[in-house]
């Protein structure tokens, strides 16, 4: 059985680690072995976060090597570009177009890339991008962004989308029904948005 390598990246506070955790739970529920690791330098303070998930029959090293990720999921556009070299040839990137501009850019010390997604495509990568932050805002809560992104991944996994959706919803099972429903909607919106982006 092939080992699956998924890299989710973004910045501290966006729910990157939680999303990978849910993805891992979905894989584990099907009996896969899985390991999940983060490279997060003080991520709680708005720093870079990249979370690696590997699942398959038996996982040894938890780290995905450069050029070996099957799927790169960028919760933030410039972060997706930062980790673009992790994708394997033929791998796919799913990118949230929403931007989070750090203080170093506001202070004029660095520039935010003009079009990170175009830059990734210029590298020859297959990128499907949409504004997950805006979709989450439309649903009334920016925090739904990670569920939107999980929805976006759902049809690119070696198992049915329902398995991932159930893992997402299991998290909210004991919470308010309204929250459960919002997450269901966010998940489906993400799924649709990425399908539309791919068709376009």
């Amino acid at each position: 059985m092939k080992t699956n390598n998924i890299l989710v990246c973004g910045i501290g506070g966006q729910g990157v680690m939680t999303a990978t955790e849910i993805l891992a739970e979905a894989a584990l529920s099907l009996g896969y072995d899985a390991k999940k690791t983060e490279v997060a330098g003080m991520s709680q303070r708005g720093g870079v976060v990249s979370s690696h998930l590997r699942f398959g029959e038996k996982i040894l090293s938890p780290q995905i090597a450069a050029g070996e990720a099957d799927l790169l999921v960028g919760f933030e556009a410039a972060e997706a570009l930062r980790w673009a070299h992790m994708l394997r040839p033929g791998g796919v990137a799913l990118v949230n177009l929403g931007r989070l501009v750090p203080p170093v850019v506001n202070l004029g010390l660095y520039d935010y890339p003009a079009d990170p997604v175009a830059q990734m495509r210029d590298l020859g990568l297959e990128v499907h991008a949409f504004d997950a932050s805006a979709l989450a805002q439309e649903l009334g809560n920016i925090r739904l962004g990670n569920t939107v992104m999980l929805g976006a991944m759902a049809d690119r996994l070696p198992f049915p989308a329902d398995v991932l959706r159930d893992a997402v919803l299991a998290r909210f099972a004991s919470r308010k029904p309204a929250l459960l429903d919002l997450n269901r909607q966010a998940f489906e919106r993400g799924r649709r948005a990425v399908a539309e982006a791919e068709a376009a």
Binding site: G31, A34, T37, G41, M42, R45, A78, H85
Partner: protein, 621 residues
């Protein structure tokens, strides 16, 4: 903060190394667990605190936590303590003598090295302590092993009556994997047995115990030789045989699935006979260890030829992409090119202080002062060394801001004569190691102004409690230290102690200006909570009125991440000088209305986003 462990669908749990250690500590029937927080070890105690069957505490520092664990062991209880690598430096005084007394109840010390330095001031290899203190070292390679070895460590500790070092690294602590738990044990403490020859370490009692330590070394080595924690993984490709431990073992297996590997789980004392037999069966031996050349040096000293740090990096992680090219070079092979795109240049994204962090006011104020040397310390406030403030000049070890400031004062020559010396320290750091330094300042009449940033939390590691918060590890009410009284008791004159609100910039500025002018020890305590903890109360957010903003950029210098520049322009002043203008907006959804950025805004362009309320801050600085 400590969430209960997730329920699992099968018998397997999906746990991080830290969670696995915590579960194993409970399952081993441990009675007392103590720690001071520190990345990457913090979560171990957070999880242990959720178990009602044992006593868990945040201690004020690592030395105290180890002494608490030792006391519990003396009465026969199984006990545990956890710390990050630098924590063991602090606790080492206790460690170096408890290795002479030995232990009664099983005692396990988890020490987590930040290999790769994701969040630390240095990188050290804690396996040295095993050598220095003559103690056994276990090195798990993943979460399952972290569980199993923690259980085995309690048993080993009781067999040899000594503490066992469980050496973790970031790549164990924070990696999740499947874990199968074993049956729980219960352990009743045997009771304290008075035995001065054993527990009272005066020279006459300690001297006869030293040889016992060396006998124990030999017994431990014999046990390591036959330990199931030191398996040999067979492999067809015998050109290189690897000796590996910790996460590096998994990396070796990943990169070289066909190579024989001697895995050192019980890695000190090194099983030399086992290694000799292993070496005889392969063409050459490569030792893969993070981070110092310890096993390598010991194998060589025993006459076992091997390669190690001549080939592999001496710092950081030894992941498969580090190992593959190094071994290819050793074997004279050409490493196949991986078809991958080049890493792209993207702006750095260093950690920032939180939106509305009370430290922002402190650093904005410090950045406005000239002629000061700022002796800093470790915590979120270390970020004050960065942009836009550049207002922290040193950072060494916890509590060092005090002694360093005093030394700067006493050692200064003409070049620094006119400068004021300011020390900046957080509440938790002050209670951990800073108090003694302040006492040294007052006793020796140093001319230092101390900024004690009391945000009622150990912010850096996630907002844990400390004796200044009035809560214990469970969030239950506990006696709360009064910092002003404490500083007075440490010898600072009452009139030289002020408590100020860090969001009131003019007040803070005035206090700093006045106290730095007076040639006596003084303490300015800031008293607003970290935004991560429940004590923090958000207030209505602000917005920028576009046509009032003159682009001065003063608010940007506060450093709050909710302030964004919308456009830049160049303008020529009446004096003919060219200036850069930065026009801003406030991310209203993120702003929690602390009012800091409002104060330096001369044209009053920043107002409440919702029904305008008068801004209740003094405007002039």
């Amino acid at each position: 903060m400590g969430a209960p462990l997730p329920a699992s669908t099968s018998q397997h749990l999906f746990l991080s190394g830290n969670e696995a250690v915590a579960l194993a500590v409970r399952d081993a029937g441990c009675r007392v667990a103590a720690a001071y927080p520190g990345t990457p070890s913090t979560e171990i105690l957070e999880v242990l605190a959720t178990y009602p069957e044992l006593y868990a505490e945040w201690s004020v520092n690592e030395k105290v936590s180890l002494e608490v664990a030792l006391g519990a062991s003396m009465v026969g209880a199984r006990s545990f303590c956890a710390m990050k690598h630098v924590g063991l430096n602090v606790a080492s005084d206790a460690l170096m003598t408890m290795t002479v007394t030995g232990t009664a109840g099983g005692l396990v010390i988890a020490v987590a090295d930040d290999v790769g330095m994701s969040s630390s001031q240095n990188e050290q290899d804690s396996r040295y302590w095993g050598r220095f203190a003559h103690l056994p070292v276990f090195e798990p390679s993943d979460a399952q092993e972290a569980y199993d070895m923690t259980r085995a460590a309690f048993a080993l500790s009781e067999r040899h009556r000594c503490p066992v070092l469980l050496r973790l690294t970031t790549r164990i602590c924070h990696v999740k994997g499947r874990v199968l738990a074993a049956e729980r044990e219960t352990c009743e403490p045997a009771g304290f047995v008075k035995d001065p020859q054993r527990w009272v370490m005066v020279p006459g009692n300690a001297r006869p115990r030293l040889p016992l330590m060396f006998e124990r070394d030999a017994a431990l080595r014999a046990e390591a030789e036959g330990s199931s924690l030191n398996p040999v993984v067979a492999g067809r490709d015998r050109r290189v045989g690897f000796v590996a431990s910790g996460p590096a073992f998994m990396h070796v297996r990943e990169a070289f699935p066909d190579a024989p590997v001697l895995k050192l789980g019980f890695s000190y004392p090194v099983p030399l006979d086992l290694a000799r037999v292993f070496a005889a069966g392969v063409d050459q031996v490569v030792v893969v260890e993070e981070t110092e050349a310890l096993v390598e040096t010991e194998l060589r000293a025993a006459g076992i030829a091997c390669v190690g740090k001549d080939l592999l990096p001496r710092t950081g992680e030894l992941s498969p992409d580090v190992l593959r090219p190094a071994i290819a070079a050793l074997l004279g092979e050409v490493q196949p090119e991986v078809a991958q795109v080049a890493a792209q240049r993207v702006f750095p994204r260093p950690p920032t202080m939180c939106v509305a962090c009370p430290h922002l006011g402190v650093y904005y104020t410090l950045s406005q002062l000239r002629n000061i040397s700022i002796s800093g310390d470790i915590g979120c406030y270390t970020l004050g060394a960065g942009q836009p403030w550049n207002a922290l000049d040193t950072c060494i070890s916890m509590g060092a801001s005090m002694g360093v400031a005093l030394g700067m004062d006493k050692g200064r020559g003409p070049a620094d004569e006119k400068k004021s010396v300011v020390a900046v320290i957080g509440d938790s750091t002050f209670l951990h190691m800073g108090m003694q330094g302040l006492l040294d300042i007052t006793w020796n009449r140093g001319n230092v102004t101390v900024l004690l940033l009391d945000n009622r939390a150990v912010g850096m590691t996630g907002g844990q409690d400390n004796p200044g918060t009035g809560r214990d590890i469970h969030g239950e009410a506990a006696p709360r230290i009064d910092f002003a009284k404490l500083c007075e008791a440490l010898g600072v004159k009452a009139e030289r102690i002020r408590v100020v609100d860090p969001y009131q910039l003019p007040v803070l500025f005035k206090a700093l200006r006045e106290e730095t002018k007076i040639a006596e020890p003084s303490v300015i305590i800031t008293d607003r909570p970290c935004v991560l903890i429940d004590d923090y109360q958000a207030t209505p957010p602000y917005k920028v009125i576009d046509d009032r903003c003159t682009g001065c950029g003063n608010c940007v210098d506060v450093g709050c991440p909710a302030i964004h520049v919308t456009r830049r322009e160049k303008a020529v002043k009446a004096s003919g000088k060219e200036v850069d203008l930065a026009f801003v907006r406030i991310e209203t959804a993120a702003c929690t209305g602390c009012g800091l950025c409002v104060q330096p805004c001369a044209p009053e362009a920043i107002v409440h986003a919702r029904p305008a309320q008068p801004v209740a801050f003094l405007r002039k600085i």
